[in-house]
Symmetry: C2
Subunit: 381 residues, 2 copies
Amino acid sequence: MVASRGVRHDSMRARNLAVVLGAIHRSGPHTRAALAELTGLTKTTVSSLVSDLLDAGVVTESGVVRGGERGRPGVAVSLSGHRVATLGLEINIDYLAACVVDLTREVRLRRTRRADNRNSDPADILASLRDLVKETTAEAEQAGLRVIGAALAVPGTVEGEVLRSAPHLGWRDVRVADLVDLPFAIDNEANLAALGELWFGSQAADFLYVSGEIGIGAGLVVGGTVFRGTFGLAGELGHVVVVPDGPACRCGGRGCLEVYAGQDALLGALPEVTSLVARLESGDRPALEACERAGHALGVALTSAVHLLDPGRIVLGGIYAPLFPWLQGPVSEGLGARLGQMRGTPPALVVSETGPDAAVLGAAGLIIQQVIAEPAQLLGL
Amino acid sequence: MVASRGVRHDSMRARNLAVVLGAIHRSGPHTRAALAELTGLTKTTVSSLVSDLLDAGVVTESGVVRGGERGRPGVAVSLSGHRVATLGLEINIDYLAACVVDLTREVRLRRTRRADNRNSDPADILASLRDLVKETTAEAEQAGLRVIGAALAVPGTVEGEVLRSAPHLGWRDVRVADLVDLPFAIDNEANLAALGELWFGSQAADFLYVSGEIGIGAGLVVGGTVFRGTFGLAGELGHVVVVPDGPACRCGGRGCLEVYAGQDALLGALPEVTSLVARLESGDRPALEACERAGHALGVALTSAVHLLDPGRIVLGGIYAPLFPWLQGPVSEGLGARLGQMRGTPPALVVSETGPDAAVLGAAGLIIQQVIAEPAQLLGL
DNA sequence: GGGATTAGTCCATAATCTGTACATAATCCT
DNA sequence: AGGATTATGTACAGATTATGGACTAATCCC
């Protein structure tokens, strides 16, 4: 739905605050004069807007710019990491996680609680998470940070503030409310991990982040924004059909990617990815074959994904990150052979640079993005 | 890229013109008072904006609203079809087409030129198209319409104003310029057909339009907007992998949907879809089997598409429209069986309501959408 | 040290929307 | 039939915000 409300003077100012803050955020510290140039606003207006942003604590004057050029040197205005921060949260199969990130995207705090959340009572887990939230926000406040919003990553599908279905947790239609007394959002783990990769990893603006966990999800980032589909269910790469009459999948389908390249298929009886990596390094035959099989299946599924989603590049994350050296070959061969004629070159295949906490970081980043996109609203300017 | 230019007084007014026009467009004729309510602007402001829109000829006062309620009756303001129009164009394998559509989405003019465009010189075809443009715009002007922009649908991939690759025409990297002396856009046939379906067909705002032609394309509409992917290449449904080691496809891959459900696979030696329909109606065995095979393949490919794109519903168009009675069964069975657990119900499968000229209509509609989204810019207000 | 150059601020002006008042036109009620 | 009621649309003063030129400030170059 396109915004359909009229613009008034206050929304004009709100918008211009966002434009100036966005310019500072996008291309680093700038003097007021440079910001005027960038935004098309006059120096006068920029000065007035920057003054409001300074009051709100989202930017600071970070010293004089001396470019060796002549003329009066300007004062650079940059994002301030000293007052405003956001909270990232994650519920996953075997842990809860939280992190506090300041406006400069500096991670100020991380907390993890190991716990087996499979088939547990949502109320218990949420209580435990609420606890973690209290702990982290208190600690953040002690560091002088004002936490102004939070987002939660979950391994399942989300609509609004309701967790619709998280098969690996055994949850269905769980409403997550009262977790924090702040602006709040929930989203799928893969989508938020994609955003984590965007802001804390490679910084590229267009890619498909493939999240290999127990299930396989994917988050498509186009122009720095996650594509969510109609109901927010897009990117279910794990159930793309690889072999139409292959083995049954728990989703009810047959021959889904998850059957061939999910954690269970790859690890088998092994307890952890690290053990698989160890075997691969030692040249263990069954391990190598499992990886190759998974790689081929990934290549097929990603071919379909490239044709449908047109990603800029493909980033392998989650358990695929440590396995990248063994997956890269079969996956990119498959992609190259199949995509052949259709596009100049297939999208580059790269490994995630963010590590296992991509999703929590992405959650915190999501709120930061919102602050920068609408500072007036979230900061009460 | 988020808009990064500051808002000034004139852009505030430009935006409010768009908001008012958008409200009229979205929910039919309204009085000034109702528009004020809808937009959150004051009656005064709305009056002033409407007066500008009246001057520009995009809206008219369409009579007094008498609701039986008491109080002074208002004057309804509605879109005007009398002055502003847009031009839709299409180059396809065996014809050129043009249509003129007014702001109320009334089709005022259609012209088609049959021609075999396969492997022909782009310059010739474009000259012929330019001719058609002159003819139609002249005729539109005689009807008192001012053509303010045009868009062109092509059976291939597009970047900017360059037709990158149209395999069935045998074209590569053709720059389409100077076709009209107006705001102009080119886009893929499937994307524009999807928009045609959106505005001239079912009016639903969320669906995947599947365009069965010689190739198979798809256009995803989410919230009334086409999803284009990173390079504008999204929606290549025809090359989604159905059988990983199936027969080779002209794209270089194997077992693509196109191999099983493209026009060639379905029609075989038959000259036209109508002949296939005739055989199907008479119970011809090979025809029925070909259809069933295509339906199954479509079901598999669409399962992957649903998981990745999350469409609101699926609309079958192009040659699939007349074949819908025979395709519906196998396709929706496949979808139902495979999507089972993952979502409440699979997306509804429906037939296109727009017919074969969906793409030209969508092209004209694209420019209408632009006028309504940015009236100030395109009308010089 | 003086001139040139660029940064940032001040203030009068312009553009646009808001809000109250008012003229207008219908229905409702007696 | 006539006045009360109610809602529409316009007029005008006032509020908000951005602009643009003048001015001060700070540095470089000669």
